[in-house]
Amino acid sequence: MEITVNNEKKNDLVKFVREHPDVLMCIEGIGVCDVLALITVKSVNELDYAKEAIRRQTGVKKVATIIMIDDIQFLFENLDISGDKTNE
């Protein structure tokens, strides 16, 4: 979920989201949103419930949902682990 939130309420929101048992990851950053949360759900109802719970938090301006419809493909072979820490 891409969450846009008032800056002064961001920490409270992150704390709230991270407490949810189905949240894989909740991170602050910059860009298309202020907080990005990866959440696992079993059904559309669960998704709606989670989204509404976040939307009801103080300071939340927008919650956009991206649904992963396939298994996530991890590609750790793309990491540069040669030990060269200089620019790519």
Partner: protein, 155 residues
């Protein structure tokens, strides 16, 4: 299983002490979980910061040809995760970068791929905590623990 999720290298004897059962019982339960496919594999948790990575980038990509774009993305350096999505975007990419130059290279590279219409980004640092108990095996790679013993530290 909870103990093994937190530390796959924990000795059976220590689990036994914690649970008040014998190490042999722990071993039998472990073998049973492996046989039944409950435990797939044990993985290492690498602290990416220790090998020079600093940034975590999420790319939300809209593409006219999702399958082809995914093929290209999977070959891109430092792209560690690709998933097909539905909603405003078609593909979610997770990538890591060492610096601004690496980040720019990643974003520009994604924008220049054939059939890509739009690339939105979300940037974060690699120090976000991940809850170990519910993390997927793949995500475990990103797990940042202050006491993580990265086998790549010496590389």
């Amino acid at each position: 299983m909870h103990e093994l999720i937190n530390d796959a290298q924990i000795p059976f004897r220590r689990i036994a002490l914690k649970l008040g059962i014998s190490p042999e019982t722990v071993r039998k339960r472990y073998e049973k979980m492996k046989t039944e496919g409950i435990i797939n594999q044990s993985m290492i948790s690498v602290n990416l910061e220790k090998i020079g990575y600093r940034g975590l980038t999420f790319l939300m990509i809209a593409s006219k040809d999702i399958a082809e774009t995914i093929i290209y993305l999977k070959k891109m350096r430092n792209v560690i995760c690709v998933a097909k999505t539905t909603g405003d975007s078609d593909i979610l990419v997770i990538a890591v970068s060492r610096d601004i130059a690496g980040l720019l290279s990643l974003v520009e590279g994604a924008k220049m791929l054939p059939n890509v219409d739009r690339v939105e980004i979300f940037l974060s640092t690699l120090d976000a905590p991940f809850p170990a108990s519910i993390i997927t095996p793949g995500m475990a790679f990103l797990l940042r623990k202050s006491d993580a013993k990265s086998v790549l530290d010496q590389v």
